[in-house]
Amino acid sequence: MSDNSHDTAGLMTVIQRGWFTAGALAVLTLVEYVVATTVDAPTLWLLPFIVAKGGLILEVFMHSSDLKTLDGGNA
């Protein structure tokens, strides 16, 4: 959340991105469930879902790119 603009348009853009992500997560979850209940030994099949869902949450919801700018900048 680095853009601290007070305009509602900016807010809507951000929130829209959130909705898209949430939608993707919901779809992934449902597909994951279907895969798990149809495939015989699903462990390996499910790992990509975990990685994808985790990655989405980290990147969009948790702003993991923050980490790049954390160093005090004295170097």
Binding site: M1, D3, N4, S5, H6, D7, T8, G10, L11, V14, I15, G18, W19, T21, A22, L25, A26, T29, E32, Y33, A36, T37, T38, V39, D40, A41, P42, T43, L46, F49, I50, K53, G54, I57, L58, V60, F61, M62, H63, D66, L67, T69, L70, D71, G72, G73, N74
Partner: protein
């Protein structure tokens, strides 16, 4: 940019809580540490019982809980975005939504625990892992709800603004982290064993 905050820091050591880089890094490190705690318990489940799972798992409830938590994630996300854009009304509403969804999640866990007590009690090996992992996660949900409550209240009292909303960002990040852990716990307990 550590030194830009120095004048404030020098004059009031304990007041110097608004060091954005330090706060962010501190929270990320804490979450990294927590990840190790969760991975210890998750790997314990695989060490003692592989991917075995019992017959009587309430898959419907678990899927519902998963989606509930996901929904609370987006409302938390909206709350944070709202505060970053000084939209207090939206912040207020979404914070409350998140807290209510979190509470509903806990109620769901309660129902699930109740069923589990008869289907796979704690003195079975799957039951041990189940109660341990769900319990650990529920504990984090509970602390998350308490923290959300504190931040919601302070936001209501007008403590935050677009240029000063670290506590909102922090607590929401923690809430997403709890969701992130569920992403791993859910298949670990319910899906890896197949149907």
């Amino acid at each position: 940019m550590a030194m830009t905050t120095t004048p404030e820091a020098v004059h009031s050591r304990a007041e110097a809580t608004y060091r954005p880089a330090a706060n962010r890094l501190g929270l990320w490190l804490f979450l990294a540490s927590e990840t190790f705690l969760f991975s210890a318990f998750i790997s314990s489940r695989f060490v003692v019982s592989g991917t075995d799972q019992p017959e009587h798992l309430n898959q419907g409830l678990a899927l519902l809980l998963t989606l509930l938590l996901l929904w609370s994630s987006i409302s938390a996300f909206r709350a944070e975005a709202a505060m970053a854009h000084d939209n207090r009304r939206l912040f207020h509403r979404e914070m409350l939504t998140t807290i209510v969804l979190g509470a509903l999640f806990l109620v769901g866990v309660g129902v699930e625990f109740n069923e589990a007590l008869t289907d796979f009690p704690a003195n079975t090996i799957y039951g041990s892992s189940f109660f341990m992992l769900i319990g650990l996660h529920a504990f984090h949900v509970l602390t998350g709800i308490l923290a959300l409550g504190v931040v919601w209240n302070l936001g209501r009292l007008g403590h935050y603004g677009s240029d000063n909303h670290w506590p909102v960002e922090g607590v929401v990040k923690y809430w997403h982290f709890v969701d992130l852990m569920w992403v791993a716990i859910y298949p670990t307990l319910y899906l890896f064993g197949g149907s």
